[in-house]
């Protein structure tokens, strides 16, 4: 345990989760999971299907309630306002809803909610920027993931990889200090994987911390600083990633688990394979 005086001298972790327990429909999914991420650090959260990876990141972003443990973001208890500097890319296979929407509209929606200066409800609901500035920010975010030319395109007509990049741009438009991505590489084409790897490199260089749920290190291997492996709701490994690829190589991995992606929660179009 660190000395409190010593803690005061170091900047707080971007995220500090301690002994998090989550139960869903009466079943405990996470049995005391801990994780930290520092500025500029890329943490891979790995494990087989049903290990609790997605539930854990969803608890960090406030999408599922925790039953025990603590989650601190940027040195403060996790609340709606402390998530102002958090970017989140949920696990999904489509950026399309029931009505057509352009990539620009999807990305612009990321500017709402808790933001610095958005103390009033009206500012959270309508955003702080005039529409023209909001669109400029959204275009810049699309540019950062290499698809600014698709800004006015209907997202439902984009490829799976392009849709995933739209969702990453929606998180980046918030200028996050911590970016959490749930299976961003699942079912995306090679071009998008390479583009995403470049984006991760830039973010890391800029001091953004990343927690990325992954099945395989793949194209991101060179950026990963630390791997945390979950197995049946418990951390079984937390340390440097091995040089060889994939969760198979990590200590604590259950080799009986198949490495297929779970079914999408909210439907959507099918995607091309990598």
């Amino acid at each position: 345990m660190s000395d409190p005086a010593e803690i005061r001298d170091v900047p707080p972790s971007l995220v500090e989760a301690r002994d998090v327990r989550v139960s869903l429909q009466g079943t405990e999914i996470l049995h005391g999971v801990s994780l930290t991420a520092q500025p500029g650090e890329v943490v891979a959260l790995m494990g087989g299907n049903g290990s609790g990876k997605s539930t854990f990141v969803r608890s960090i972003v406030g999408a599922v309630p925790t039953q025990a443990g603590t989650i601190r973001l940027f040195g403060r208890p996790a609340t709606a306002s402390s998530r102002a500097h958090l970017g989140y890319v949920p696990q999904r296979i489509s950026a399309a809803g029931g009505v057509s929407a352009t990539a620009l509209e999807v990305v612009t929606s990321g500017l709402l909610g808790s933001r610095d200066g958005a103390d009033r409800v009206g500012a959270r609901l309508r955003g702080l920027l005039p529409p023209r500035d909001a669109h400029a920010r959204a275009r810049a975010a699309l540019r950062s993931v290499g698809i600014e030319d698709l800004a006015k395109r209907d997202v439902s007509r984009l490829s799976g990889g392009q849709q995933q990049r739209v969702l990453i741009a929606r998180a980046l438009v918030r200028k996050p200090r911590l970016l959490i991505l749930d299976e961003p590489m699942a079912g995306v084409d090679l071009e998008s994987q390479v583009a995403f790897s470049h984006t991760v490199g830039h973010l890391k260089h800029d001091g953004v911390g990343l927690v990325i749920v992954l099945h395989e290190l793949g194209a991101l291997a060179r950026h990963i600083d630390r791997a945390v492996v979950l197995e049946r709701g418990c951390v079984t490994y937390d340390g440097p990633p091995p040089k060889d690829l994939g969760v198979h190589a990590l200590p604590g991995h259950d080799h009986d688990h198949p490495h297929t992606d779970p079914p999408a929660r909210d439907g959507g179009i099918g995607l091309e394979g990598p």
């Binding site: 406030g62 998530r83 999904r92 809803g97 352009t102 509209e105 909610g113």
Partner: protein, 277 residues
């Protein structure tokens, strides 16, 4: 004779215009959430509200027995919408919840109207619409309700889009997701009670959904889909009501039939155009 100078025609066109503009706004959010049939479920609950208002009118010996019918419909529709939203947020299957409201609403309506000493014929105007009986009081009520729908539905478009597009992401940003979902449900209920007068409970959902479906064939942006659907909705209601001035046909049925025909025509044209390119 200048038909536009006739007060009844003015009232009909004004209510038709308001409904035509407001219904697709909420319809856009329902389609976005893939809950296009929600309007039907709430509409049937509103019918029970009409009958409950009728019953209250007879219990209080009101001169006009159906004076409380529309307030009853508004109240029941909002309660029904809130119930649907709460059950949905707790993980209940949306289609099962709506089916229960369908059956409960229509059965409750028939039962209550019987208790009020009326007959099923009294409900026909609400089932199929009765715009030709609209009063100036109805018009001002429609103006007020439509203003709320348009102000909130358009003013909070980006936030409502964020929540209906990706609830989990919206929650991570700190948006008040539950409150915004409730806003969509309650405004949908209000829209239905306003539109009920024009097209009736049985077709009310069509006025919310069909213009959006037509707009979707043409546009690729959420905002443009909403704006175009509002224009289409207004054009359909005004055209339908204007035709019924000259021909003895049921306005609600005509408006919806026109909408379906326009959808078929636009779908055919866009398909042919796509093949040609």
């Amino acid at each position: 004779m200048n038909l536009l100078a006739e007060p009844l025609i003015q009232r009909m066109l004004l209510v038709g215009l308001l409904v035509g503009l407001a219904a697709p706004v909420m319809g856009t959010y329902l389609v976005q959430r893939k809950m296009a049939l929600l309007g039907d479920g709430i509409g049937h609950v509103a019918l029970a509200g009409v009958a409950a208002g009728w019953l209250a009118g007879s219990l209080f010996d009101l001169a006009q027995q159906d004076a409380l019918a529309i307030p009853g419909a508004v109240l029941f529709a909002i309660i029904g919408a809130v119930l649907i939203e709460r059950m949905r947020s707790r993980g209940a299957a949306a289609d099962v919840v709506m089916a229960i409201l369908f059956y409960g609403g229509i059965a409750g309506g028939v039962l209550l109207i019987g208790l009020a000493g009326g007959s099923n014929a009294n409900l026909l105007g609400y089932l199929f619409g009765s715009i030709s009986t609209v009063t100036w009081g109805d018009v001002w009520m429609s103006v007020a309700l439509a203003a709320v729908i348009l102000l909130v539905g358009i003013g909070l478009r980006t936030a409502l889009f964020a929540v209906t597009h990706d609830q989990e992401f919206a929650r991570s940003t700190g948006l008040p997701v539950e409150a915004l979902n409730m806003v969509v449900a309650v405004l949908a209920a209000v829209t239905i009670t306003v539109a009920m007068r024009v097209v009736g409970v049985l077709l009310v959902s069509a006025l919310m959904i069909v213009p959006v479906a037509i707009a979707q064939l043409i546009t690729r942006s959420f905002a443009r889909t909403m704006h175009l659907a509002m224009g289409i909705g207004a054009a359909l209601t005004l055209t339908g009501i204007w035709i019924t001035v000259f021909y003895d046909v049921q306005p609600g049925a005509l408006i919806v039939t026109l909408g379906v025909l326009v959808y078929g025509a636009v779908a055919s044209i866009t398909t042919l155009a796509r093949r040609g390119t």
